[in-house]
């Protein structure tokens, strides 16, 4: 058949329907007339001829319909008819339609948002690079198989010696101070190796990227920078002459050599960086000493490698393991026991991925659960209406409609519902997606989320639509096709033979809804419990009434001595301020979002087991730190002002340290080697929590600020007050300004808030799960209510008879409630089994954003907590009883005489 002619026919038939119909009408009439003429010519009377012609013709309408049916575009036309019919049906029952559409919108919207988040964070390949599928993350592994970043010298070895890899690049994300001192702003950027852009394959939008000119390893030789497209637009107004201008970064002038393309944001997925500077500039920018760049133990680089085409991940991993093994032997003092491996970028444990992978997976799971409950509800509602529409379907069947046509009708109606629901859901997704930023703690770069709906998400939503339609509609649709003719039309009442079967189906649906709701509740409960427990854990120090601030003195050009002097002066000034109890400063902040740093130690008198991890966490602190934190000393003494640059190097260790390395004996007087020097232990501090509230006892040590502080360390400043710590901030700012007006106070917040930040992902996961769990319960209650309400209506006559025969109101009430409780109980039983099964997989989820931390998991007894299961079950049972209350009340208030008279 000629395709063109066919398409033209379809268009013509649909667009010019009226004319086509008229033409056909005229044609058929002409036939009848001419046939009559023939008969008249053969001798019949005109009226008899006409009648005979009509009989011979057959039914005019039948012929017309036969032509219509075989016309091109007939399928489309009948589909369109179905749609219009469906819309009219919905308009007649707006309540049902609105309810169904809203539920579907919620279910589809939630699932789509969760998928969008997963897509952005976990599935999205790196933007703005060429061939991202060949890029992998290169991480070092410790002796106990944790993933850590690599060091610059390690990077050089990998870069020079790996054969199966086209190139290795490294990046160190950091905050930089851009602009003049008074108006300096904090910009997130990456200090990168010279070949960074080459390995990633980023093409410049303007100017050039780092090239072989910047590949060298000479510190301070490349005072250049590349800015992001966003930075170019906001700070330079898209000026095309930006190339060659200088930019002031950390008080040093760098030359801008290029602008990155708009879709490139840096080497960490979903985080937006604005500035890239060669890593060799770090000594200049951060006041770091050049020798630190050569320190193999300074592991602060995130590495990305590009596989050669044709090389598989496995092959490259083997080569890397072998090389790392050789390096571990050759550089045994730093690298002993370490290995290295390659991971697909989406499995990188750093950045938002590592942080959010666990919570996002759970969210996705619960959203799908919600959608399933929604579908069950919609199916249940449809089944209820199917019973009401039996007569309508029977009539249509009697008039000659095919069963398939009826099934198609029902499916079309459902597709309409899901389509509208999905459209509503999708509209809210871009807005909801932005809330993902809330999952990230403060002090991190903003998430770069692509809020435009991309193809993945749309396809996913369309798939959900189809899935929802099928799962919600297949049973009602098949049921409608199976309607038996005579039984339906003759039945006087609303319940039919199929009514009982439908009721059973609806009951099954409600049971499954209750089961799913229980699973959702239990998961939410477990999370909330874990979160509460974590929050209730005693951190071992007192974070209350402490103001925490950060200083980046390198950006002001302070050298080491100047920084120490600054701290001393500020400490003195603050102590003299009213209301201040203690002042201290340190390198790291306990329980903050930045992981604590560690040092490789050697303990005199202790022989480490083979493969034992001698990397111990530490903090570099001022003498008053332990006092400020209210961490008591078990034996020995605290640091004093006498422990300075000229005196003997000293260290304080914690109880777990003493337990592990000194077999619980008094550690005072023992010797420990770290930072390249020997220390004497002068005290033992009580254990506290250092990285995660949920961690197990960890060995830890403190060293004096004046003795060990290095220029590449951070500077946190603490002020403990009597009252509200926030009120101290303006005073602190004043004092800082007295010392040096160019220094900025960063990230000021109560220490308590910072301590709570580690719980961010858990807190938000718990909140979201509670919301979803509540929705699930609401939907299940809705489902139960509608089933019970319908059942009551069906049984009105029966109830009337019962009451007439002497049943009291309370008996009827009890009867309905009992029925509801049976349904709920069955659902809870099934749900329990499911929940127990699910909780096993939940147990292994962890919340950690970097390696070497005691990751918090929902493990062991926490998962088996019987209180949560019991509590959820009781709650759902109560909700079920409540949902049935209104129908029960209605049943109980039936007037027997009215009921008996009702049809």
């Amino acid at each position: 058949m000629n395709l063109g002619a066919r398409i033209w026919s379809i268009i013509r038939n649909l667009a010019f329907r009226h004319k086509t119909e008229n033409d056909l009408d005229g044609e058929l009439r002409a036939y009848v007339d001419m046939l009559a003429d023939e008969k008249v010519a053969a001798g019949m009377s005109p009226s008899e001829a006409r009648r005979s012609a009509l009989v011979e013709f057959g039914g005019v309408e039948q012929v017309r319909q036969a032509v219509r049916d075989r016309r091109a575009g007939a399928g489309l036309e009948s589909l369109w008819q179905d749609v219009r019919y469906g819309l009219r049906t919905m308009a007649r029952n707006p309540g049902f339609a609105i309810l169904a559409v809203l539920m579907l919108a919620v279910g589809i919207g939630a699932s789509t948002t969760a998928f969008d988040w997963m897509d952005q964070i976990l599935l999205r390949p790196l933007d703005g690079v060429t061939q991202p599928q060949n890029l992998v993350a290169l991480v070092s592994t410790t002796a106990n198989h944790a993933y850590v970043p690599i060091s610059y010298p390690d990077y050089q070895d990998f870069r020079d010696r790996l054969r199966l890899v086209e190139g290795v690049a490294v990046a160190h994300p950091t905050a930089l101070s851009v602009g003049k001192e008074e108006r300096a702003e904090r910009v997130w950027g990456e200090l990168v190796s010279g070949n960074f852009f080459a390995v990633l394959g980023v093409k410049p939008e303007l100017g050039r990227m780092f090239s072989s000119a910047e590949y060298g390893d000479k510190p301070g030789a490349f005072p250049v920078a590349v800015i992001s497209d966003r930075f170019w637009r906001t700070h330079y107004g898209s000026d095309p002459r930006v190339v060659g201008r200088t930019i002031r970064v950390n008080s040093h002038e760098l030359t801008i050599i290029g602008v990155a393309p708009p879709d490139f944001h840096g080497s960490l997925t979903a985080e937006a960086y604005d500035l890239w500077v060669p890593y060799m500039e770090q000594p200049m920018l951060n006041g770091v000493e050049a020798w630190m760049l050569r320190d193999r133990g300074n592991r602060n680089m995130l590495a990305i490698a590009r596989l050669k085409t044709g090389v598989t991940l496995g092959q490259a991993q083997e080569e890397l393991s072998a090389l790392a093994g050789r390096m571990a032997v050759a550089d045994a003092d730093m690298d002993q026991g370490m290995g290295a491996t390659l991971l697909p970028l989406s499995e990188s444990p750093f950045g938002p991925q590592g942080l959010l992978a666990g919570p996002l997976r759970i969210l996705m799971g619960i959203s799908v659960l919600l959608l399933l409950i929604v579908c069950a509800n919609v199916a249940s509602l449809l089944l209820a209406r199917a019973t009401a529409r039996e007569r309508e379907f029977s009539t249509r069947l009697a008039l000659g409609a095919g069963r398939w046509r009826l099934i198609r009708q029902v499916l079309t109606e459902i597709l309409l519902l899901t389509g509208i629901g999905a459209a509503l859901g999708i509209v809210s997704v871009p807005w909801l997606s932005r809330t993902l930023q809330l999952l990230m703690p403060p002090g991190q770069p903003t998430l770069d989320l692509n809020t435009r709906l991309n193809l993945h998400v749309l396809i996913f939503t369309a798939g959900l639509c189809v899935l929802a339609t099928v799962s919600a509609g297949v049973i009602p649709a098949l049921q409608s096709g199976r309607t038996e003719l005579s039984a339906r039309i003759n039945e006087g009442g609303r319940s039919g033979v199929a009514g009982r079967g439908r009721h059973r189906l609806r009951s099954i649906l409600v049971i499954s809804e209750v089961a799913l709701a229980l699973v959702a509740l239990v998961c939410a409960g477990l999370f909330v419990r874990a979160f509460e427990e974590a929050r209730g854990i005693n951190p071992g120090f007192d974070p209350n009434h402490v103001l925490l601030t950060q200083f980046y003195l390198a950006t002001n050009g302070y050298n080491l001595e100047q920084r120490k002097e600054f701290c001393r002066q500020l400490g003195e000034k603050m102590m003299s301020a009213p209301g201040v109890v203690d002042v201290a400063w340190s390198d790291g902040v306990p329980l903050s979002f930045e992981p604590s740093w560690w040092e490789d130690l050697e303990v005199r008198g202790y022989v480490p087991l083979p493969g034992e991890n001698m990397k111990i966490f530490r903090n570099v602190v001022s003498p008053d730190y332990l006092k400020l934190m209210r961490i008591p000393l078990m034996t020995g003494r605290n640091f004093t002002e006498q422990d300075n640059e000229k005196s003997e190097l000293v260290m304080i260790v914690n109880q777990t340290f003493a337990q592990r390395f000194f077999a619980g004996q008094d550690p005072v007087g023992r010797h420990v080697r770290g930072f390249g020097e020997w220390f004497t232990v002068v005290g033992e501090a009580r254990d506290s929590k250092y990285n995660y509230l949920g961690e197990s006892p960890t060995p830890y040590f403190y060293v004096p600020f004046r003795q060990i502080y290095r220029a590449d360390m951070q500077l946190a400043f603490y002020v403990k007050v009597h009252g509200d710590s926030g009120a101290m901030l303006p005073i602190l700012r004043n004092k800082v300004r007295e010392i040096d007006p160019n220094v900025t106070v960063f990230d000021a917040m109560p220490l308590q808030e910072s301590v709570g930040a580690t719980l961010y992902p858990q807190k938000l996961a718990a909140t979201l799960l509670m919301i979803l769990g509540a929705l699930a319960v609401l939907l299940a209650a809705l489902g139960l209510y509608s089933v019970m309400a319908y059942a009551v209506v069906q049984r009105t006559q029966e109830i009337g008879i019962r009451m007439a025969l002497g049943a009291r109101r309370i008996d009827v009430l009890g009867m309905v409630e009992w029925q509801a409780l049976i349904l709920t109980g069955a659902g809870l039983a099934v749900g329990m089994v499911l929940a127990l099964a699910c909780s096993r997989s939940l147990a292994s989820l962890s919340f950690t954003d970097s390696a070497m931390g005691g990751g918090v998991t929902l493990a062991g007894e926490k998962v088996m907590n019987p209180l949560i299961y019991a509590g959820a079950a009781v709650f759902l049972a109560a909700v079920g009883a409540l949902a049935a209350l209104l129908p029960a009340h209605r049943a109980a208030s039936v007037e027997p005489m009215r009921a008996l008279r009702t049809d």
């Binding site: 058949m1 002619a5 012929v63 075989r70």
Partner: protein, 110 residues
């Protein structure tokens, strides 16, 4: 068509219509009468089969139609073959002849 002939394939009807119209222009009744004529009364096509077929073939591009005046000055729709229709007639006629010859020889065999 009566019940014995009603299981004739749709394609056969198409072929009959194409042949009946031939190089002329015929209206619906005319086609029906002509088919009766050329098959010596064996096939009587009822409107219920004729019109769907006519319209279908028109949409397929084998026939074209226009309004015209019949013998008794009635306004009727006339059909004629298009070029594609002519080709189709030739192909289907050849096909049918081949099939008929094969059936004949098969039935003659012992």
């Amino acid at each position: 068509m009566d019940s014995r002939q009603s299981n004739l394939l749709q394609g056969t009807l198409d072929l009959l219509i194409l042949k009946a119209i031939g190089r002329r222009e015929l209206h619906g009744l005319g086609v029906s009468r002509r088919i009766e004529q050329i098959t010596q009364g064996t096939f009587q096509v009822k409107p219920g089969s004729l019109f769907p077929a006519l319209h279908r073939m028109e949409e397929a591009g084998w026939l074209s139609s226009s309004w015209g005046e019949s013998e008794n000055n009635r306004r009727a729709r006339y059909y004629r073959l298009t070029k594609a229709g002519q080709r189709q007639l030739g192909e289907e006629a050849a096909q049918w002849t081949k099939v008929a010859a094969a059936m004949t020889s098969a039935l003659k065999a012992t």
